[in-house]
Each structure stands twice: as structure tokens, then as C-alpha cells.
């Protein structure tokens, strides 16, 4: 049991992202209102973004900007330790993923507007009733 707790504490970032992801998934599956489902979808995507951000982080690391690197002096001959700098690549990837998730959210909201204009409701059970009436 103590081992298990130690495992959770040591890798808390993974547990957190999984919990967030499951909250999002729960909302997408169980909620009746389409907007709530969308919020769940956004939480789901954010969880993955946080996962990526956390894997680039290093304790005691700083932003990966090497001072005086311009002008050909390459940091004045000082040795650069990769361990001192956080890994920027996962963070940069997430800029793209954020754009994708914003775009998805926008398209989904637009679809909700269309659905509301047509049916005057965003509750899934009412929509289902309307559809089966026809």
C-alpha cells in the first residue's frame, strides 16, 4: 500500500491527467445537454495538453533560452547542461494542439447553434423525441 501511494505521489502528473480525462469522458457520455457535452470534450482535450506540458517539465529547470548565444560566441564557451533547461518541444506541439481544440470547439458550437435554430432545444432526450416523431 505504501509502495502504491509512493507511486501515485511520484507520478502525480499522470494520475491528474487521467482523472481529468475521465471527468471529461464522463461528461461527454452521461450529460444530456449538448453544451455540457462540449465542455466535457474540452476538459478531455485539455487533460491531454496538460499531459504533454508536464512531460516537458524538469525540476529546477529554466526556460530554454541560452544567454549570449547570438553573435557566434555560443554562450562564451560555458558548458550547457540539457538538464538545466525544460524541454520546449512538447510545449510547442501543444500550441498546435490548442489551436486544433479551439477550432473543434468553434465548429461544435456552430453546429449547436444550427441544431438550436432547427429544434429550439439542446437537450438530447428532447431531440431524440422530436426525431422519432417524424
Amino acid at each position: 500500500m505504501a509502495d502504491f501511494l509512493a507511486l501515485i505521489v511520484a507520478k502525480y502528473n499522470y494520475w491528474l491527467y487521467i482523472i481529468l480525462m475521465m471527468i471529461g469522458l464522463y461528461a461527454m457520455v452521461a450529460k444530456n445537454n449538448l453544451i455540457k457535452k462540449l465542455v466535457g470534450m474540452n476538459i478531455f482535450q485539455t487533460a491531454i495538453i496538460l499531459f504533454y506540458v508536464s512531460i516537458g517539465y524538469k525540476t529546477e529547470g529554466t526556460i530554454p533560452i541560452i544567454q549570449n548565444a547570438h553573435g557566434g560566441h555560443g554562450g562564451h564557451g560555458a558548458i550547457i547542461h540539457a538538464a538545466d533547461y525544460i524541454n520546449p518541444l512538447p510545449h510547442v506541439l501543444m500550441l498546435t494542439a490548442i489551436v486544433v481544440s479551439v477550432a473543434t470547439f468553434g465548429v461544435a458550437m456552430a453546429l449547436c447553434v444550427r441544431i438550436y435554430q432547427r429544434y429550439q432545444t439542446l437537450e438530447e432526450d428532447e431531440l431524440r423525441m422530436r426525431l422519432s416523431e417524424k
Partner: protein
């Protein structure tokens, strides 16, 4: 020219930009721009295919950055073939769809062309890229555009079907993205070749196992493998027909390509079939998908919806074939990507012509169609024969390879499922033929001798439909050439 690989993707991307821009000045300009962009893309794809067959794999470095830092387009025989397929079908569909688009989306035709081009950009990029994260972004471009285009269709159900697709599509893409994250944790690289090299030195890692399952399940959701298919039938049925006939043949087939690419170029057969020994289980999933898709197709009253369930069954063919773990099965699966794209395209072209004239594809409304639209129906019959698998149409040959592969692997259940599904398809299509041919619409009018007036679709649609239907036979006759010059050299 060295830049053809980039031009394949960039031509439709710039085309989308200029088509949107030109629509501000004159709405009629966007169609010729879209057509020119896709034509250029097809031309480049054909050139790349010729070049790859002659000289081998092309590695194109985006902006000159060397992999693994830069993004690489890696075109080998498999991509080159799929690129020609995708750009060719997108181009032909645009020619055939001119009048469909005006009829169905009337005032928004120019935005349809812009989004259509972006959709094709996504598909072509997915096929061309050699970078795992780039693949994710391009899959999302494809998905986002298909959500919007599906919503342009049926006013009552289109947006709802699209929204359901959004929810499931996001889950699929997110799983794939997570899987890429785990690959990155373990290898520190995103370039497919580089990742494959590093992974081959790692044995028994749980991280790689998690990455593998997340990626593959994400792709399975996107390709609608049964039971992850629920978004597909409604989405494709309620989309405007001009879009459903490009998304139905291409989207799922490109995702099958991604699966095969991940299996061959990233994780490797040894890992999947020897270390994890997953072959048998997934072939069973394929078998179930084939049977379930065919049986669900039987109960449909709408021709378009029936065809979407046939797509679900065809996905089962390709997934099962790819996971048989032998050369024959893989050959069959890759050949079926080409053949199934052509057959589905031919079927949906016929559906598009019918929708244009009759406005409905509910089976009872199709009575007497053979008399009214003889040429369209001729194309439809040929495509149906190909789906059933009648020689010498191309459907027969890929099924033949798949059945041979199944016997070699001892997967008799998969072979049986292929044959049963062919029989079910035969029943299905002959039911449609019976309605269209033998039942005459003019029964109720009291004058059985009145001559049937031929009301065919416009000539541009008929020409494309005829061309694609004939290509089914040509692809069938030349399937040996395709296998020997492209698929076997690629696999060896």
C-alpha cells in the same frame, strides 16, 4: 522537378485560399480555381508515383530541415499509390459534383469548394507525411472539414449527425495524440523512421505497449471499425451527396493506410505479431466487423445508408487482411484500399446522379430507374458486381488475395466471413436491382404501354461515372501489375 511531393499538398492548400479570396470578387471564380488546384495536385502525384517506381523512396525535407528535427515527407511505393488515388478521386468528384453542389448548397457553393479543398489537403498530407505529430494535425484538418461539410447536408439531421461525429472523432484523435505522447516519452523523436529505429532496440517496455494501443484504438475509431462505427452511417448519409461520395471512398481508406503505416513503419511486424501476438484477436474483430456490417446493411431502407454499412463491412476486410500476419493478407489489404476506394466511389457517383434527378434515395422511390436512367444504372450494376466480387472486376482480386491469406494463416473464420459477406452483398444488390428494374412506376397510371422517358443526369456526371466504372474492370485486369510493381516490392 524536386518539389512535387510538397506541391501535392500545397496546391490544394493555396487553391483553398485563392478560391475563398476570389469568391469575394466573383462567386463563379472559385470552382475553376478549385479544379485547377486539384488538377495540379493530381499531376504532381502521378509524377511522384512514376519517380518512385523508377528510383525508389523520395525523402522530401520541408524547408530543408533534416529529420529527425525537421518534418519529412517520405514517399515510398505505398504512399505514392494512395496519393494518386486520393487526388484522382477528389479531382474526378469535383468535376462530377458541379451541379450537385449548386443543387444542394445553392448559395454557399463557394464555401463548399474551399472546405472541400481543405479536406483534400488533410487527406493528402496524412498520406504524404513522415512525422507522427504532423499526422495528428492533418487528421484533425480532415476531420474538422468533414464535420462542417456533413452539417451542410440534410437540414434536419445533418448538424446532429455532424455533432455526434465531432464527439467521437475528438475521442479518436485524442487517443492517437496521447499515444504519440508516450512514443515521444520513450524515444524523444517524432519522425517515423527515427522512432522505428529507436523502438527496435527497446524490448518489453510498458510505455511502448500503451503507446501502441492508444494509437491503434484512436485510428480504429477514426476508421469506424465495428463496434466503433456508430458515427459513420448517419454522418455519411446526411452529408451533401457531393461530399459523401468523396468522404465515403477516401476517409476510411486513408485511415486504413495510416494503420498499415503505423504497423509497418513505426512499430514493426515483429513487435505486433511476435512480441504481442495480437494477430488472431484482431482478425476475429475484422471477421465480426465484416459480418455485422453486411447484416446491418440488409435492414436498411435508404440506398445511401445501406452503402455506408457496406463500408463498415469493407473496413473489416482490410483490418482483418492486414492483421493476418502474412504477405498474401497484407497484399490483399493494400490492394483492397485501391479497389474499395474505386468501387465505393463508383457506387456513390451513381447515387449522386440519382439524388440529382429524383431527390430521394429511399428504396421504394427507385422503381423503374433502369428505364429512366440507363447509363447511371449500368455504372451502378458494374460497381455492385465489384463489391460482390464477380470477376473480372477489381473487387474479386483483392478478395481472392484476402481469402488465400486467410487460408495460409489458418484463419478459416475470416475466409468464411468474406464469402458470407459476398453472398449478403449479392442479396442486397439484387434486391435493389429488382426494385429498380422489374417494378415499374407507371403501374398506377393505368397506361402500361406508355414509353418511359429517359431522364438522365447531366453529361459531366455520366462521363465521370462511366470512367470510374470502366476503371473497375481495368484495375481488375491490371491487378497483377499493381501487385508486382507496387505492393510486393514495397512489402519486401
Amino acid at each position: 522537378m524536386d518539389n512535387y511531393p510538397a506541391l501535392i499538398v500545397i496546391a490544394p492548400l493555396l487553391g483553398a485560399f485563392f478560391a475563398g479570396l476570389a469568391a469575394w470578387i466573383e462567386k463563379r471564380l472559385s470552382y475553376p480555381i478549385a479544379l485547377a488546384a486539384l488538377g495540379l495536385s493530381l499531376f504532381s502525384a502521378v509524377n511522384v508515383l512514376i519517380q518512385v517506381i523508377a528510383t525508389g523512396t523520395i525523402q522530401y525535407r520541408m524547408a530543408g530541415w533534416a529529420p529527425p528535427m525537421g518534418i519529412e515527407y517520405r514517399i515510398d511505393l505505398l504512399n505514392a499509390m494512395v496519393l494518386v488515388l486520393v487526388s484522382g478521386i477528389a479531382f474526378l468528384n469535383l468535376i462530377a459534383s458541379y451541379k450537385n453542389v449548386i443543387q444542394e448548397t445553392s448559395d454557399r457553393a463557394e464555401s463548399f469548394y474551399v472546405i472541400y479543398l481543405l479536406f483534400v489537403v488533410g487527406l493528402l498530407g496524412v498520406v504524404a507525411t513522415g512525422d507522427l505529430f504532423n499526422l495528428y494535425v492533418l487528421i484533425e484538418i480532415t476531420s474538422l472539414t468533414s464535420y462542417t461539410l456533413i452539417a451542410l447536408g440534410d437540414r434536419d439531421r445533418g448538424p446532429l449527425a455532424a455533432l455526434n461525429y465531432v464527439f467521437i472523432g475528438v475521442i479518436g484523435a485524442s487517443f492517437y495524440l496521447l499515444g504519440v505522447g508516450y512514443i515521444y516519452i520513450k524515444t524523444g523523436s517524432l519522425n517515423m523512421m527515427d522512432v522505428a529505429n529507436i523502438l527496435s532496440g527497446i524490448q518489453g517496455s510498458t510505455t511502448v505497449l500503451v503507446a501502441f494501443f492508444l494509437c491503434i484504438i484512436g485510428i480504429w475509431i477514426k476508421m469506424a471499425l465495428f463496434p466503433l462505427h456508430v458515427w459513420l452511417p448517419n454522418g455519411y448519409t446526411y452529408a451533401p451527396v457531393a461530399f459523401s461520395r468523396v468522404v465515403a471512398p477516401l476517409m476510411t481508406k486513408v485511415m486504413v493506410y495510416v494503420m498499415i503505416r503505423l504497423m509497418i513503419s513505426v512499430f514493426g511486424f515483429d513487435y505486433i505479431f511476435t512480441e504481442l501476438n495480437l494477430g488472431k484477436a484482431v482478425v476475429w474483430m475484422g471477421t465480426i466487423a465484416v459480418l455485422a456490417g453486411s447484416i446491418m446493411a440488409l435492414s436498411q431502407k435508404n440506398l445511401k445508408k445501406m452503402l455506408t454499412y457496406i463500408i463498415v463491412a469493407e473496413i473489416g476486410y482490410m483490418v482483418g487482411g492486414a492483421w493476418l500476419a502474412n504477405e498474401l493478407g497484407m497484399t490483399g489489404a493494400i490492394l483492397h484500399i485501391v479497389n474499395d476506394a474505386l468501387m465505393t466511389f463508383a457506387l456513390f457517383l451513381a447515387v449522386g446522379n440519382i439524388v440529382y434527378k429524383i431527390k430521394s434515395v429511399d428504396l421504394p422511390n427507385l422503381k423503374g430507374l433502369f428505364g429512366k436512367m440507363p447509363w447511371t444504372m449500368a455504372g451502378f450494376v458494374l460497381a455492385a458486381f465489384s463489391i460482390i466480387g464477380v470477376p473480372p472486376t477489381c473487387g474479386f482480386f483483392s478478395k481472392w488475395y484476402l481469402v488465400l491469406g486467410a487460408f495460409e494463416a489458418g484463419a478459416y473464420h475470416f475466409a468464411a466471413a468474406l464469402i458470407i459477406s459476398s453472398l449478403i452483398c449479392a442479396v442486397l444488390f439484387f434486391k435493389v436491382f429488382e426494385i429498380c428494374f422489374f417494378e415499374s412506376e407507371s403501374k398506377g397510371h393505368g397506361d402500361p404501354h406508355s414509353t418511359v422517358i429517359i431522364e438522365e443526369a447531366p453529361i459531366s456526371m455520366l462521363v465521370v461515372s462511366g470512367l470510374v466504372s470502366i476503371s473497375l474492370i481495368v484495375a481488375g485486369l491490371y491487378s497483377g501489375t499493381i501487385v508486382n510493381t507496387i505492393i510486393l516490392p514495397f512489402l519486401r
